[in-house]
């Protein structure tokens, strides 16, 4: 096929429809061909890369390497994906798993971000930050949930699936993360984000 890969629209913020994802995945699994992979890559990578950039900020993990690792891991496990969630949600879960492994390899577990701990200490709260930077300063557990829930709109059930945590944990970490963000951004409760 010549044309489709060139005209394959990048998702531009709209999630691709699930049925065509299924067909592309089926085509890939059947032939392991390059074009099917490129189509999937182009559909989802801008979305995954944005998450990768935010999920790795200040942690010494390259978002480019993380995106590569995500695709490698995803293709390794693609035939075990059962479509019980959106394909993109599953990919995001793979990405966070790879990120956590990269942090462990570098000697920093996902919950031991020294930058985050330092930055969210009370003394730093007077400094006003923009929202994107403030999110990167949250402890990892809060940051991941805030990213997925508040930024990317995942319901708590999907956040829980992606991060492999309980739904209740997602809710509580989202709430605490939001509180911390408001402090970081200089507001008390609401209206801190700018």
């Amino acid at each position: 096929m010549v044309v489709p890969i060139q005209d394959q629209p990048r998702s531009q913020g709209r999630p691709p429809d699930e049925e065509s994802d299924r067909q592309l995945v089926a085509a890939f699994l059947e032939r392991k061909d390059e074009l099917a992979f490129r189509a999937l890559y182009r559909r989802h990578s801008a979305y995954l890369y944005a998450i990768a950039c935010r999920a790795t900020a200040g942690q010494g993990v390259s978002p480019e390497e993380l995106l590569q690792d995500t695709w490698v891991r995803a293709l390794e496990r693609l035939d075990s994906f059962r479509w019980q969630s959106r394909f993109r949600t599953w990919l995001a879960g793979v990405l966070f798993n790879c990120r956590n492994e990269a942090l462990r390899r570098s000697g920093r577990g996902p919950e031991t971000s020294r930058v985050a701990e330092r930055a969210t200490s009370p003394g730093d709260s007077e400094q006003r930050l923009d929202l994107e930077h403030a999110i990167t300063l949250l402890p990892d557990g809060y940051r991941d949930v805030v990213l997925l829930h508040y930024v990317y709109g995942y319901p708590h059930a999907e956040v829980a699936e992606v991060l492999d945590i309980a739904v209740g944990t997602s809710k509580s970490q989202a709430a605490r993360g939001l509180q911390r963000l408001r402090v970081l951004l200089g507001g008390e409760e609401k209206g801190g984000a700018r």
């Binding site: 096929m1 390059e34 074009l35 990578s45 994107e132 930024v151 209206g191």
Partner: protein, 198 residues
């Protein structure tokens, strides 16, 4: 328990503004593909329509041997070597009526083109195919002894989108094969050119 709905409007807007996508760096797609090939997660050898080379060479070798054996068996004079089939390139263009690909129709079209490739390969006419980047560069004389570069892009009024290389006896057969391309059903255009053996 605070939830997304409990954000202030300003907060909702601020979070929504971050929900953008970020294009990965140029080259990362190819680097990732290279890595996947190394790990044998993607078949090497380019696009799936590339001829499976060992099989092609095997068939070619068998054909040569068969011709040689037949020639030996019936005598040199009685065997006229078959004229080589000509190669033709089918250039695919968008054209003004081209129905652009979308998320909704992409997968189905993917299968349509793939089926065409399989059928054309099955009939022994398919050699290879290549898709082209959306954009490229044309270089041409600037009229003052220098060279000027112009950016070209695929599209209704632009450059070609890709090509298929096929074998056929003549233009009639090449045209019949080209007429079965799903590209035409979607309003695309195909130009057919024989590869000059010289």
């Amino acid at each position: 328990m605070k939830d997304r709905e409990e954000l202030t409007r300003a907060e909702q807007a601020a979070f929504a503004a971050l929900a953008n996508e970020i294009e990965p760096p140029d080259g990362l797609e190819d680097d990732t593909l290279r890595l996947l090939r190394q790990r044998r997660l993607v078949r090497s050898g380019g696009h799936w329509w590339h001829a499976p080379r060992p099989a092609v060479w095997g068939v070619a070798l068998a054909a040569c041997l068969a011709t040689l054996i037949i020639g030996i068996g019936v005598g040199r004079a009685s065997v006229e070597p078959e004229l080589p089939r000509a190669s033709f390139i089918l250039f695919l263009h968008a054209g003004p009526e081209f129905d652009a690909f979308s998320d909704a129709n992409f997968a189905a079209r993917f299968e349509d083109y793939n089926r065409w490739v399989a059928e054309t390969r099955g009939s022994g006419h398919f050699i290879t195919g290549e898709q082209l980047d959306d954009t490229g560069v044309m270089i041409l004389p600037d009229g003052r002894g220098g060279i000027v570069e112009r950016r070209v892009s695929a599209g209704p009024d632009g450059d070609m989108l890709g090509m298929f290389l096929i074998t056929a006896a003549d233009y009639d057969e090449a045209t019949r094969i080209a007429q079965t391309l799903p590209h035409l059903e979607y309003g695309g255009r195909v130009s057919i050119r024989r590869v000059d053996p010289v």
